[in-house]
């Protein structure tokens, strides 16, 4: 289906229904469409362009439940001009939304497989919709394993939710931190060190990775060592985006446009690109 650009470049107005502070630099916004407008259904892995009045727009992955897309949920790290302004929004404030854009995690394709999700830092946010969707259709999947690494214990996102997932008998959750703190009793080390801890059938596994590029490279390498075929590994990429619809050129990585060919790629497709510097 073709859409003309006047449409997709114009935001839909939404109202902040709730703001949740997640960690010292991350927050989650719950958005409701304003003025009787609709919020579109999204697939796990897709993103929206969020506009803060006068500041500008940023591409933010959707971190809510695809099977129940209202309200629209975005978890963001305050790192740039727009996201820092976004962090100051309060309940009742308004925001512009364009989307959803981009490719999705292979949630359907993974049916029947063990599913291994590997997240680094804020990379957990784009993977959370996968967890919701699988838990809503739990019987269709083999094991569900989340391997999550952050810098420090205070950077752990969705802490309560992680605890509730870990308490389930049908999901395995492993968390590690790069640097420990006094009260931390868990794993210390990079997220790849969690891979040997998890029990899954490498030949019957779909793996989805989201985090810094260097982390994704090493995770893929480790999964490969475990015998997971690279055709079963998927990764989500990130680049500067201005339009989200393949017209502004900013998000190119080699021959691909991350906004329309990605952000989720079969790992095979981007493996070589990840080895090239400044691509």
């Amino acid at each position: 289906m073709k859409t003309t650009v006047a449409g997709p470049m114009v935001p839909t107005m939404a109202r902040v229904n709730r703001v949740r502070k997640e960690t010292h630099d991350t927050f989650t916004l719950e958005l409701h469409p304003a003025y009787g407008q609709e919020i579109h259904h999204f697939a796990a892995g897709q993103f929206n362009m969020l506009y803060v009045f006068g500041f500008g727009e940023v591409a933010i992955s959707i971190s809510g439940d695809p099977t129940n897309p209202k309200p629209l949920i975005h978890t963001t790290r305050a790192v740039g001009n727009v996201t820092k302004a976004m962090a100051k929004l309060k309940t009742g404030d308004m925001i512009g939304v364009r989307g959803p854009f981009g490719s999705a995690w292979p949630v359907k394709h993974a049916e029947g497989d063990d599913v291994v999700l590997v997240a680094g830092g804020i990379g957990l946010a784009p993977l959370r919709p996968v967890i919701y969707e699988i838990l809503a259709n739990r019987r269709k999947y083999g094991k569900l394993i989340l391997l999550y690494g952050t810098r420090t214990p205070s950077d752990i996102l969705y802490r309560k939710e992680l605890e509730s997932w870990r308490s389930r008998l049908d999901m395995e959750v492993y968390v590690t931190v790069d640097r420990s703190s006094v009260n931390w009793q868990g794993n210390v080390g990079v997220v790849t060190t969690l891979i040997p801890k998890a029990g899954f059938d490498p030949q019957q596994t779909t793996a989805m990775i989201c985090g810094p590029e260097i982390m994704m490279r090493y995770v893929a390498l480790e999964l490969q060592k475990r015998g997971v075929p690279m055709s079963s590994v998927f990764a989500s990429m990130e680049r500067n985006m201005k339009c989200g619809i393949g017209l502004c050129g900013h998000c190119q990585m080699g021959p691909t446009f991350i906004c329309k060919d990605g952000p989720v790629y079969p790992y095979d497709k981007i493996r070589e690109l990840l080895l090239k510097r400044e691509i």
């Binding site: 500067n240 017209l247 050129g249 080699g254 400044e278």
Partner: protein, 380 residues
């Protein structure tokens, strides 16, 4: 194209004193006429309504980092090639307001302005490489999952009066890119200027219904076999006078497998990252958006404007730019233009117009860079 291209390619003669009639006809048909004219010692494209605005008796000299227009007695109406401007400025305005929004007591809403009339242009003097460039941009803006309406509504309203090249410039290489020096399609009317001691006329080829209508309205005489032979000879001579050439065989694979070739550092050391090449390129399409607020802070505006992959901000994400070095930025541009563009849009992003070579302040030459990489390429 205003109408179907099915119209037979008939050849007529357009006299030099009929250029005004051609302009008048197009204006009466509701087109704004744009064509080459002289400003700031250069041939640029602007609105013209008088045949005298077309630079008769002017030729150009182009080399890497060098551009001059010269008055020449023997020069005709189109004895120069392309300048820094291209038609993309009419089809994709360099800056355009996308929308405005207002904030009133915490309520944000879009401000809907009266829609502006879309200008209908007739481009006079479109070179074959430029027709190819418009076709390349068509693929970018019209063939993807999202259509750029801003471009579409301008593009669908244009008429193209092409001019085949008789005097290629020092940086031209359309023959290598298979885009010229003769326009094969994509025009309403294509002119070839024939100039001899006592004979100065245009052979006009119709390429659409509009072209046929022009021939009828201006009562153009059919071209004689001599005229047609002269046209062919003019184009053949032009094809032999290309200032540059480039070997495009397997260039996609060549560049994508040579991303660590030392030549990228060599060119990165010379490149000023000034973005000239991307601004003058008739196919470069990258844009950015800009947000502004008025002094009260209650009205915000979002515009799009041309952008360049040579700026450091272009690839900025949290943590910094992806392409921090000049060599990486040049590599990105050239690899995209000549190679990965083919993966993305099924066509080369380069049409061989030579603008990037001419307007590079340090004379970096894309044909030379590609040849250097080919000469010491990494193994197959």
């Amino acid at each position: 194209m205003s109408a179907s291209e099915s119209a037979a390619k008939s050849k007529f003669v357009l006299r030099t004193n009929q250029i005004q009639a051609l302009i008048d006809f197009l204006r009466e048909r509701g087109y704004r006429t744009a064509g080459p004219t002289i400003r700031d010692c250069a041939v640029i494209y602007d609105e013209i309504n008088n045949a005298e605005q077309i630079p008769l008796g002017v030729a150009d000299e182009q080399e890497a980092g060098f551009y001059r227009v010269k008055k020449r007695k023997e020069a005709g109406y189109f004895s120069y090639v392309v300048g820094a401007h291209s038609w993309k400025k009419f089809l994709n305005p360099p800056r355009f307001t996308l929308w405005k929004a207002k904030m009133d007591n915490g309520e944000m809403s879009l401000v809907v302005d009266e829609p502006q009339a879309v200008p209908h242009y007739a481009f006079i003097g479109v070179r074959p490489c430029e027709i190819a460039a418009i076709a390349v941009q068509d693929r970018v803006y019209l063939d993807g999952p999202y259509v750029d309406n801003l471009y579409k509504e301008r593009r669908s309203a244009i008429a193209i009066i092409a001019v085949n090249c008789a005097h290629p410039g020092g940086t031209c290489f359309c023959v290598s890119m298979d885009t010229g020096p003769e326009a094969k399609s994509g025009f309403d009317l294509a002119l070839t200027e024939i100039q001899e001691t006592n004979r100065h006329l245009f052979v006009a080829t119709t390429g659409s219904d509009l072209g046929v209508e022009i021939a009828k309205a201006l009562k153009l005489e059919p071209a004689t076999p001599d005229d047609i032979a002269d046209e062919a000879a003019t184009i053949k001579r032009a094809a032999g006078k290309m200032g540059r050439k480039i070997d495009t065989s397997h260039i996609n694979e060549l560049l994508q497998r040579n991303e660590d070739h030392p030549r990228w550092n060599h060119v990165g050391d010379r490149c000023l990252n000034c973005a000239n090449c991307t601004m003058v390129c008739p196919t470069c399409f990258c844009m950015t958006v800009e947000d502004t607020t008025d002094i009260t802070g209650k009205t915000a505006e979002r515009s799009r404007r041309w952008d360049s992959c040579f700026t450091i901000e272009f690839s900025h994400i949290h943590g910094g730019a992806v392409r921090t070095s000049a060599s990486a930025r040049y590599r990105h541009w050239m690899t995209h233009k000549l190679a990965s563009w083919q993966d993305q849009f099924g066509v080369s992003g380069c049409v061989g117009c030579g603008r990037c070579i001419t307007w590079c302040p340090v004379g970096i030459d894309i044909t030379e860079e590609a040849a250097a990489i080919r000469a010491s390429s990494r193994g197959e």
